[in-house]
Amino acid sequence: MVNTEVTIGKLTLKNPVMTASGTFGYGEEYSEFVDLSRLGALVVKGISLKPMEGNPPPRISETPCGMLNAIGLQNIGLKKFINEKLPFIKGFDTCLIVNILGRTIDEYVRLSTELEASGLSAIELNVSCPNVKSGGIEFGTSQKALGRLTRKVRKAFKGTLIVKLSPKVSDIREFARLSEAEGADAISLINTVPAMAINIKTRMPVLSNVTGGLSGPAIKPIALRMVWEVASAVKIPIIGMGGIMNASDAIEFILAGATGVAVGTSNFRNPASVIEIIDGIESYMRENGIKHIKELIRGIIC
């Protein structure tokens, strides 16, 4: 029997595998294909105070070993989430992390306090979405803005506070250190990489938003490098993500310094992906005589 339990802030996860926000809906969409109770944590699609309509189509496009998206944070809004989605998710034995997004600091603060009042114990600050005009990545690419935001939300929210970082910065370690200094319990990285594709027949961008966020195996080496860099910069846990498609990918992130891993684009390709990754990590541990997952975290030899 191997022990895969990990601690992230005040959360104890039965295993390090979680879903990446925006790739698993509100859990319901996958509940037919996955026993949600087996997940380390369920991270739901980003929630804003008011419902958001999202960007016009086309919103997604495939690229070699990757996928571009410019969904534009379409979501049902806080009220509907609390009333219509939360009761279903609470029926499963897994940690729940709510990804939140706002246009202003006040909106993030309101979202965190209202979620706390609804019994939610973990939030992930989305400061890295590349596909909206205001908010999102604006906070994730300015140290001043990120510092203020993290500080204000930290004051307002007692539960586990995770800051999700953007790769669109010259040195991600500075943003990680700042998040830690302002009271974040954990850091998740990376969000999608700003990118684009052009249709050479029409000479038009493939996405209506022109640019989108690249995800999938194409960005894994970038994400892995950033997790490894951040692991040497902070003491708080890191949730690593970016192109994790199988257990081997997940183990690479853990060896690089991730305490948790989030599976994103892979859910689209294979709805049972998260379960296969949980099983695969356990098999790897058994085969290699590893009793506790902690033996693997930051286990890279270099």
């Binding site: 790739t23 698993f24 809906g25 969409e29 996958y30 509940s31 037919e32 294909f33 996955v34 026993d35 699609k45 309509e53 999202g54 016009p56 189509p57 086309p58 919103r59 997604i60 496009s61 495939e62 070699p64 070993c65 990757g66 996928m67 998206n69 969904i71 379409q74 999938g216 195996p217 498609m245 684009t265 859910n267 689209f268 390709r269 294979n270 709805p271 049972a272």
Partner: protein, 261 residues
């Protein structure tokens, strides 16, 4: 994976063996799959399957395909080679095993008794409408058009199914030399028709104008690029008069008047 929602042992995510992958004519193929589990959910006309066409990461996603024909142990997909995914699919041999999710999405609602179904298929849109035609048989009037003869598929099967069939090609290489929209003008609208259509987006857009002019109601099946097929990625959104809807979940079949063209 078992269907936990209904508490039954019906599978919507399963492996299926390729029995046949026949080239019917230029770039058009008929794929026959045999599920490797016994209890699969039976599809309805208009529903679709997500097929894993490669175990490598390029292409990365499964591809959505309408169910063309089905029985308890066979699922048939009629498809046209259009991009990287379908090109790979066209080279898949008998005996290969594919990862399959489905049936997904909604289906064509059956017409109330007072209506005569008017089925308009443009090109590969026949793949989505065929099982509806099969179900309605001679109750329906069918117009099936393509650019040219080599893009018409399964004509013998269609002729055997329905007597009120008009076949047309843009270049006149088979049947009437007309587009499906031109062929529609030749119909006497003294009956209560209910439209069902699937085909290129531009054809559907013009069809929407036509139905508005004629005071017809009906349903269309839309196609959009999708990543998951399950309603999670929100990539297949289409603008309707009530905001964005997911083609994979609220569709693929929509009332034609609901779409905001």
């Amino acid at each position: 994976m078992k269907d936990n929602i209904k508490g039954s042992n019906i599978f919507r995510h399963f492996k299926a063996e390729v029995k046949d992958n026949i080239e019917l004519n230029k770039n058009h193929f008929l794929l026959t799959l045999s599920p490797l589990v016994e209890n699969i959910m039976m599809p309805a006309g208009g529903q679709f399957y997500m097929l894993g066409v490669s175990t490598l990461y390029d292409p990365l996603m499964k591809r959505p395909f309408s169910v063309f024909r089905f029985s308890e142990n066979r699922i048939q997909i009629l498809y046209r080679v259009r991009g990287k995914g379908t090109a790979i699919m066209s080279r898949i041999n008998s005996g290969c095993v594919l990862d399959v999710i489905g049936p997904l999405g909604n289906s064509y609602p059956m017409p109330p008794k007072k209506y005569t179904p008017l089925i308009v298929a443009g090109g590969i849109g026949i793949a989505s409408l065929f099982s509806l035609i099969h179900c309605l048989k001679d109750k329906s009037v069918v117009i099936y058009g393509a650019k040219t003869k080599s893009e018409l598929c399964m004509l013998d099967d269609l002729l055997g199914l329905v007597s009120g069939l008009t076949v047309c090609t843009d270049d006149g290489s088979y049947g009437k030399k007309a587009t499906v929209l031109e062929a529609l003008n030749d119909i006497a609208y003294d009956r209560d028709y209910l439209l069902y259509s699937c085909g290129p987006k531009e054809m559907l857009r013009k069809l929407a104008q036509f139905t508005l002019k004629k005071g017809l109601k009906g349903y269309i099946s839309l196609e959009e690029t999708m990543a998951c097929g399950l309603g999670a990625c929100l990539g297949c959104a289409v603008k309707t008069k009530n905001g964005y809807k997911r083609v994979c979940k609220e569709g693929t079949v929509f009332p034609i008047q609901d779409i905001a063209w």
